[in-house]
Symmetry: C2
Subunit: 213 residues, 2 copies
């Protein structure tokens, strides 16, 4: 499958490497290709391009940019390159300007997922994977035998079902809860404050939320 | 043990009935004792009193009032009646004024738990049990064999340890995570938006968070 990954931090790199390893045709889009030279040399098959090239390449795209820069990065990627496609939005509206722990620069009555959907009405935004660390995103079996939960939020039911199907096929996810429309991203983005406190309490990020029912 | 429960809604009633059933000496404090006449007749041994009487009675107290009225109710309970005691704060800052789903009237950079601790500096506030429904609070085995997680937040380490010990003894809780000081109540109060969306998606409240690690 042709996949475009917007953002080249740990999340973009981890998902990109995993999907290339599965044989997919991946372009990682970045504003700083020089920073990825060493990494891409170690991951044969990953192509590096501009944000617009990655967006144009993908049949599906991931927003793996920093939350603070997501709207700007998506503008550079270009609405025309994303229109009609699924955009998996992994970004969180974390504000580190006051130090640790970060606060949220959008919260409670709005979410970054909604702002992205509003700014790009032709894109099928599916908020997901924003509630766990990058290694677990692509390998849920790293903790608890993979017996834990991720969420999808979005306005397009078919897009959410397709994302859930792909995450099962690609990464092995078994428990994916459809929370509802994109406004439910307020809920999953609001998991970050407790996630960060858990990381601080444990001293590592190898943990996950499970919804027991 | 002498226990004071402030608030007589579903949470106060459920915890009160459970603790009386365990043989404890419980006073449920309310501003509307007439509303509890039928309920107290069905739960022999529960005494109903004013908020101040319940606070004065308890060696430990529960804040089971509505979040919107908690600071006012605790003022009526009286700082002098609570000073030096543990107050388990179960309230959430839910704002239903815009309809469902509710938003939070305190969030992100502050929490109701912190506001209570600040208003009552002589009280050992331990935020806990605010992330699940009342029936599960006192009977975690109702879902998933009791294999799920609650949290404690507070500034007094001994108070948190005592609450964790009591919750194990009284209710059977096995996984209680100490998140840190009372500012970590921002994290658990922020679980409410996703909790509410999960309740709406499932159509029931018989589910729980588990932190898999």
């Amino acid at each position: 499958m042709k996949i475009g990954i917007l953002g080249s931090g740990m999340v973009g790199q981890t998902i990109g490497a995993k999907l290339v390893g599965l044989g997919h045709d991946v372009v990682v889009g970045t504003r700083s290709p020089e920073k990825l030279r060493e990494w891409s040399a170690q991951h044969a098959g990953v192509r590096i391009g501009s944000l617009a090239e990655a967006a144009a390449h993908g049949e599906i795209a991931f927003n793996a940019t920093n939350g603070g820069g997501s709207l700007d990065a998506l503008s550079q990627a270009g609405a025309a390159n994303l229109d009609g496609k699924i955009l998996v939005d992994i970004a969180n509206p974390l504000d580190f300007s006051r130090g640790m722990p970060p606060t949220l620069f959008i919260s409670n009555t709005d979410s970054l997922g909604e702002q992205i959907q509003q700014a790009f009405p032709g894109v099928k935004v599916v908020k997901s994977l924003n509630t766990l660390n990058a290694y677990l995103m692509v390998n849920p079996g790293l903790v608890g035998g993979g017996d834990h939960t991720i969420f999808v939020s979005g306005n397009d039911a078919d897009a959410k079902a397709e994302v859930a199907r792909l995450f099962g096929e690609w990464f092995g996810w078994r428990d994916i809860i459809d929370l509802g429309d994109i406004t439910t991203a307020r809920g999953t983005e609001a998991l970050l404050p407790v996630w960060i406190r858990l990381m601080m309490a444990f001293g590592h990020a190898n943990f996950q939320f499970k919804i027991v029912r």
